[in-house]
Amino acid sequence: MKKLINDPADVLKEALQGVAAAHADRLTVLTEPNIIIRADAPVQGKVALVSGGGAGHEPLHGGFVGMGMLDAACPGEVFTSPTPDQMLAADKAVNGGAGVLHIVKNYTGDVLNFEMAAELAGAEDIEVEAVVIDDDVAVKDSLYTAGRRGVGATVLAEKICGAAAEQGKSLAEVAELCRRVNANARSMGMALTSCTVPAAGKPTFELGAAEMEIGVGIHGEPGRERKALAPVHEVVEMLAAPIVDDLPFASGDRVLAFVNSMGGTPLIELYIVYNELNQFLSARGIEVSRNLIGPYITSLEMQGCSITLLKLDDEMTALWDAPVNTTGLRWGA
């Protein structure tokens, strides 16, 4: 295992120490339990946004804590859900009296732990709403499974809902908006290589030198199919077609196109992916009016990418454009 780490058991702890040391001006990092909160929390009268999940997806979620996005993030160990005491501590730390929105990626562990946390917070008179993000079209027959996984739409929901909260929207309104973002977003990812969970010490899955995994999850979960390597033109088609068909996205739609690195794919390749995606969408009359290109929801050092499309309306567009100041996403501030 080739990683810039010390003891695999200390990865999360030491990464959080690094975050604390690097961003003390804007973030407060607490341990026992682990949470990352806005230095200026609680923001009185503002709906607070709390998210979380296993580590290994950085900058998600800790990198999105700050003005215009999350109030707190609860990191679990690598690819392991956080526990309810973390979310409860976060809820208490950031609740400014207007309630807390839990943004939860749809994995059984995350959902159940956030549910218990919400019950505990409720018992302490903190108003909590939870929205479960489930945008991954790679999971078929979601009625007979734990459902679609939550992936790239999480980043978009955190940004857009964070802006709405900043503008003074109520908990019900922000939660409703979050459901709308989720309902209008679809994603699919692929892997060229596996990742290695530090504690496991060996690759999560094996992939031949001439193979790729289409529809992979952000924890290296198997996808729809294993295929021979193909030019990116075809890869984008394999990802974008199921996305566009699913909602469906139609001619005349304006979308936010999010091209994400799984962690090990460099920017030069992402721009080639974006170029293909843009052509794919143009050919269908779908206009990309906003975009996001980079490593924002990663799977450790996995090589590969994911594509997320969000059908935009004017409100979502304006909220996307609103100022944000986090270590992972920043503009207008």
Binding site: E77, T80, T108, N113, E115, E221, P222
Partner: protein
Amino acid sequence: MSYSQADDWIRAFAATAAANKVYLTELDSAIGDADHGINMNRGMQAVLGKIDGIGETDDIGALLKTVGMTLVSTVGGASGPLYGTLFLRMGTAAAGKSELSADDWAAALAAGLAGVQTRGKAELGDKTMVDALTPAVDALQAALADGAAFDDALRRSAEAAEGGMKATIPLVARKGRASYLGERSAGHQDPGATSSWLLVLAAADTFAGQAGQ
């Protein structure tokens, strides 16, 4: 069942979770994310730390709630809230009691199972821990209805859990991570059903030869 027997049972489960850490993790690596044994062992080790320092009490309900809260805050993943809920509900059922009759125990386990199902929404046959716990509760109640002694009832309960666990092998998972595999999840034994069997087996083993208490 006395307080100290309940305490023995928890310690026995911790021991078997430690002993089966690698086995449970291997089961999870086939259809999940290769951490179930690690998760359960981490949680039960934390439980040992907690119950050692629990102080003077004979409230079995308090003991079980401590176990549940500790699992909730240390296991994570799907199994943390599920096992946590199981013990919390058993604790509520046993609240204030320093002695559990066989019927009390059966009612507590049934309450725990109900909690797991409320939390996780799994039905029998979804290839989860519910598939081991449901036959365990059913067999326990049937045995007690037959007039079986506590130790014998627990043994029959553990046997039923083992059967339920093995019956998960051909199933296609419909809940949890394994469900993403679809058909590919068939042919593998569910890790959570396996740890649930170990839980019931630990109770049977603890009581073996201590009949009727």
